[in-house]
Symmetry: D2
Subunit: 248 residues, 4 copies
């Protein structure tokens, strides 16, 4: 599985910061574009995030090519409605030969590695037989396993990414989509570190809604903070939250 | 497969008509609610639809329970983003025993009935073995076939239903989601016939955008009209469109 | 100003509870509809809200007729994008004679009552002169004050209402849209008290994300709780939050 | 009034074309990125648009700074819900002195130029008096005219732009938002001519849904085509459509 960042708003951090400032200013884009310093960019972004002024984050947008995920994961992915998707269609693109790469869950790999490979091989055999019997591709695929690999091009803005991360980085999320989310986070932090500084699972997002000094994912991983939350929204009590985050 | 209408805006046709009228009027809801006649309701609805004033249709909303569809179909269904979904989770609800009812495509039933049943049985056996080997449900399901049955509660407003129908009633749509769409259409036409009078596949919707006298699905089924469209958006030429619609 | 609830999902609380339960169950709508008790409805709703399982709230939908608000308020209202709007158009419905009822802010009423009435009269006079000079309605309205009254039909689902309330019940919200929000809250609590039990401004919503025992607006108004939040998202420190809420 | 394109997806046409191709292909982004020719880009875009495969257009995104429009126009603009907005707030940014630049409709300029300027001056005077009387800015602005100028940062993807243009380039649209739409069209055609080749008012969009050979705005302006539509969706008969478009 790979989640590649293939396009994004150039200078998106500046775009977000200027938009935020323009809501308070009477001057136009040209003026702010010329005068805004790097420090200001950081300040406007931080302020927007910590005071729940999320809408300005929508002006920076990211396109990913997510390749080799199962249809278990893709079905969950496309449930995020504030995003754009283009998915490889098994009606038109037959997953045969080297293109049949069903995803194996680590838990199954460990406990029943041969078993699950046999299941995938049997499914493939049946798929092939149906095709040979003249069943159209779009119907033969009914016997393919949920694990079957697919590719999805996804476009999300920074606000929706924050929301996506809050739900899918959480250790309660299903392992595969969680892995996708962590890769996506790494990709966007690489190009826009200031914009995604406060991204994290819901326990961190919600903590920052109610505390004076904001915390980051890195703070938690380095054991630099104590939560004031009594529990996370999933019900994990205060003491358990950092351990839960570190599970990744 | 069943698509049951389980809730909807009471008197939704009147709600839509009043909203449409209020955009042109200075009087309030109370006045229009008391004075609007049945004829007026019909006129305001028809006018809104035929002049592309679609937004008023959003005020009438419908909830369906769609039961016993495959994850092939549910994956397509949830791609419609202007809607609300609650789906039976295979992480928590194991599709075993009488609850394992994978969907069989008619094309496979006819050409390879035994073959596909064997495929479904093999998948089930493998699924069971993985569970027995201690693989968690959420991972064991990777070997379940795409055909595996699921239930989804769906809420859509009348405008989005028009859009959903335009895409999914079309004979180019995949057979299972097309069957769902036709059932949904029957359900809503039963309760709000005036609101869904002009619903149909895109060939009909687009034809009505460009012609003087609007046509309905029933007109086409009864051979009462000739299209002025040279082709439908999918590329079917004028002469072929009615036959294409009748295929259902 | 009036915010009237004119349509809503009948038995919407049951609809939400059944949808929530169906995500964990293998049985269909019919079964749950027959067997779900009132206690269960309350439990499923509470659980959904307190664990951030918000999407099920989308299945219950509400239509309001909001009448006699200014275009200052309507411009803010329509910024909530997950909703449906039909607005009285000043291109087609002239706000003249008894239909010209510009909204007076209480702060102006108190400090400069005559002044503001004169401003509204002058604007009206200019509007009328422009119409008399043959300027089309859609252009003459450029001189009407932002205060000019309008009507909007709004449809929102329960999830979006929670979001709308969280932002607009807050004492930092502009007074007129805040007054609209409080009226809307009263309307929906009247028909679906269990569904809106935990609705409130963001300070309450965020507090409930992080605490063991949930609190309600009524708890705060009755001084029954202490916040664990160090600050609300707007920056009000813990001690000030209850007073801020009571300002209403 | 100015509508400036301030950010957009770099190489957005290629992004859209690759996404479209990937829905039919088993290969990943890297392969297509290396192998796709300029001719292919054009073909995939054209095919997507002419067969209603609009969703791929969502992967190319545009941010505009729209400056100096009236609140009449901004109120209409923000009704397009599939977009992101950050608006200059009159709660925080006082439109005084050189920043008070209310928009004058051409029809009023011509027929009642002095009258409307007086109206704007009177309103300004009243606004100032209210501020002097201690009325807060957010309330004093109730007497400002609808014409008062504002700035909005807007982000829309190419699909939503097509929709926005279809409604707002139309001669039935209100003159000011129409002027904004034409400027936005020029901006995006400058950077992505292939992607916006078929953009236009609804008469052109709908015509292309039903005809064999697609037409463009330029074709109509150059009198190179005859419509097969009997009427546009607004009711203009076939013969009148080109003239209507040329009005601009």
């Amino acid at each position: 599985m790979r989640a590649l960042l293939v396009a994004y708003t150039p200078d998106g951090e500046r775009v977000v910061a200027i938009a935020a400032k323009m809501s308070r200013s009477r001057k136009g884009w040209g003026y702010h574009h010329q005068t805004m310093t790097d420090d200001e960019i950081e300040t406007w972004i931080k302020d927007a995030i910590l005071h729940g002024y999320w809408s300005v984050l929508e002006h920076s947008v990211y396109t990913f090519s997510i390749e080799g995920i199962s249809r278990v994961a893709s079905h969950q992915l496309v449930r995020h409605r504030v995003a754009s998707y283009t998915q490889m269609s098994h009606r038109f693109a037959k997953p045969v030969d080297e293109y049949y790469q069903p995803v194996t869950p680590p838990s199954a790999e460990k406990r029943a590695g041969e078993l699950i490979q046999r299941a995938y091989e049997d499914a493939y055999k049946h798929y092939y037989e149906l095709l040979s019997a003249g069943v159209p591709e779009e119907d033969a695929r009914y016997v393919l396993p949920n694990a079957v690999n697919t590719n999805v091009v996804v476009t999300m803005n920074a606000r929706e990414l924050y929301n996506f991360f809050s739900l899918r980085l959480c250790s309660r999320a299903q392992w595969e989509i969680r892995a996708v989310a962590w890769q996506m986070l790494e990709e966007v932090r690489r190009v826009h570190p200031r914009l995604f500084k406060y991204a994290g699972p819901n326990c961190i997002i919600h903590e920052n809604f109610v505390r004076d000094e904001p915390i980051t994912l890195d703070d938690v991983l380095a054991d630099r903070v104590e939560f004031i939350s009594q529990r996370c929204i999933e019900g994990v009590p205060r003491e358990g939250i950092p351990r839960c985050i570190k599970k990744r």
